[in-house]
């Protein structure tokens, strides 16, 4: 096999050069002390929490609000993911909310007035067996019916799109085809959090870091405030947007949620010349990879097997995904591992999010995004803001209610996601 990248001019892969980064303003958001009272409080200063605050202020005119973050802003999963954005989910409910999110992504940089390197370079999801081809084609038709852009590619078309991929029939998991979502892509993840933080702060939202929630002021099953390491703050509406720590907050409020917290690891290579101009995912060999703007390869796979809050996992999980990556992309065999990290992801039994009301009045929850929450950041914040402002869910998050585990109306996205959740 010849690697076509060897014949390209240095520093290019056909279309693009490695990008230069824009200057950051001296201050992105105001650092404030918490007030005694707010109209609404969001617990969790990650991507989804900051997006919720921004849309509460922008769409619903609620500006007397605060975001409480126990660590530093964007220190959790928003900066620990592999930045993949797509909306080609199987079920109608999922396609609707993820597609809404993708549409918001498409104008987000203009909307926030902040660059975040959103790049619609496409997302390729490979099929490696007959049953894989059937399920991916089913997914492809379901996407077409839901108005989500999707294409079916033959192995030759995959090779044309990604010249460095190995489509030989001799490998353990040969490429039999792929779905392709051209509007999918990546963004620079920490900048997404900073962009939302800046825009929310500009609208008057208080962003309060290093402040942990220690309890809730609940009387007559209605929330009236929150106890924190900086004292008690009164409020009439609280949104819990805490990803892997959601179970602990729910427990403080006296109810339980069907969430298990697991480590999800990712890794990057050092900066390399641009060799990969789209996102490639494979559930059968269990890896997903893209190349960031500066040139590092960004790889991820499935979660570690066990519950954990440690933000790290076993090295055998990394070894497994690298074996898969090297089989698909033989030129990666000479790349080095620069850095690995883990995030704590919140996994629901049906691998779909839980967004809406809780057993406690005026206390709302947004959790269960599991291994795929980054792509949903704008849409998640948008519907969570609607739910908090109106005290009732938007039609997009109505199906994702906590109560679905009682009614049995689950939204089983295990098989439809790019990798097993």
């Amino acid at each position: 096999m010849t690697n076509t990248h060897d014949t390209l001019p240095p520093g290019t892969i056909g279309r693009r050069r490695a990008a230069t980064l824009p200057e950051q303003p001296p201050q992105l958001w105001k650092s404030v002390k918490p007030k005694k009272t707010y109209d609404a409080i969001i617990v969790g200063g990650g991507g989804h929490g900051l997006a919720t605050a921004y849309y509460l202020a922008k769409n619903h005119g609620l500006t007397d609000i605060a975001v409480l973050e126990k660590g530093w802003l964007a220190g959790g999963n928003i900066a620990r993911n592999t930045t993949i954005i797509r909306s080609n989910y199987l079920w109608d409910e999922s396609a609707a909310i993820y597609e809404h999110s993708l549409k918001l992504w498409e104008t987000l940089e203009q909307d926030l007035g902040y660059e975040m390197f959103f790049s619609q370079r496409g997302v390729l999801t490979l099929a490696h067996s007959v049953s894989d081809v059937r399920s991916k084609r089913r997914n492809f038709y379901a996407n077409a019916l839901n108005g989500v852009d999707s294409e079916w590619l033959t192995p030759a078309e995959v090779k044309k799109l990604v010249p460095i991929i190995n489509i030989s029939a001799e490998v353990r998991y040969p490429v039999h085809g792929a779905t392709y979502q051209p509007r999918g892509g990546i963004a620079k993840h920490d900048w997404v959090a900073w962009g939302y933080a800046k825009a929310a702060s500009d609208l008057g939202v208080d962003i309060i870091q290093n402040t942990e929630v220690t309890g809730f002021d609940i009387r007559n099953n209605k929330v009236h405030g929150v106890h924190t390491t900086q004292g008690t703050i009164a409020t009439s509406k609280i949104g819990l947007v805490a990803a892997g720590h959601s179970s602990l907050l729910a427990s403080l409020a006296g109810f339980s949620i069907p969430i298990q917290s697991r480590p999800l690891q990712a890794l990057v290579s050092p900066l390399l010349e641009q060799v990969l101009n789209t996102v490639v995912m494979s559930s059968a060999v269990h890896v997903y990879v893209s190349q960031a703007h500066k040139g590092e390869l960004v790889l991820g796979a499935g979660t570690d097997a066990y519950n954990s809050y440690s933000q790290r996992g076993g090295f055998h999980v990394i070894e497994h995904q690298l074996a898969a990556a090297v089989e698909l992309f033989p030129i990666f065999s000479r790349a080095q591992l620069l850095r690995t990290w883990g995030g704590i992801v919140d996994i629901a039994p049906d691998a779909s999010p839980i967004i809406g009301l809780t057993p406690v009045e005026n206390l709302f929850i947004n959790t269960g995004w599991g291994t795929g929450g980054f792509k949903a950041t704008p849409g998640s914040g948008w519907v969570m803001a609607y739910t908090m402002a109106n005290g009732a869910p938007h039609e997009l998050n109505q199906p994702f209610a906590l109560d679905r585990f009682v009614t049995g109306h689950l939204i089983d996205e295990h098989g439809a996601a790019g990798v097993a959740h």
């Binding site: 179970s247 339980s256 076993g314």
Partner: protein, 109 residues
């Protein structure tokens, strides 16, 4: 000890086969969840049995199966922050106490 304990993979003491690598095991989440009588419960109680499992930050009593060895299920205490492993015990035996007296922070069902 530190790198293998925290960064490589878990070393799990199978009560039948001894200390083995994590890759020989499958995980079974919270231990000691007994099967209730479905006819004696409301939908909400049944949903709780089906879907809700302990997810504490700290010590968790959990199930593992040694699929690549003896093939048997057993239980152990493991700390979900440090990944330390505490007492190991067999199913249907009395659950030992968690390794410290602090109890579990967070949701226990």
């Amino acid at each position: 000890m530190l790198p293998t304990k925290n960064y490589y993979m878990l070393h799990i003491p199978c009560p039948h086969c001894g200390l083995r690598n994590e890759t020989e095991f499958h995980y079974g989440a919270e231990a000691g969840v007994s099967y209730p009588d479905p006819n004696a419960m409301t939908d909400r109680e049944w949903a709780k049995y089906l879907h809700i499992r302990a997810n504490p930050k700290g010590w968790l009593a959990e199930r593992w199966v040694h699929f690549a060895g003896c093939g048997r299920w057993f239980n152990l205490w493991r700390n979900t922050v440090t990944h330390e492993i505490g007492p190991v015990y067999l199913p249907f035996t009395t659950q030992p106490k968690a390794p410290n007296d602090l109890g579990q922070e967070g949701s226990k069902v």
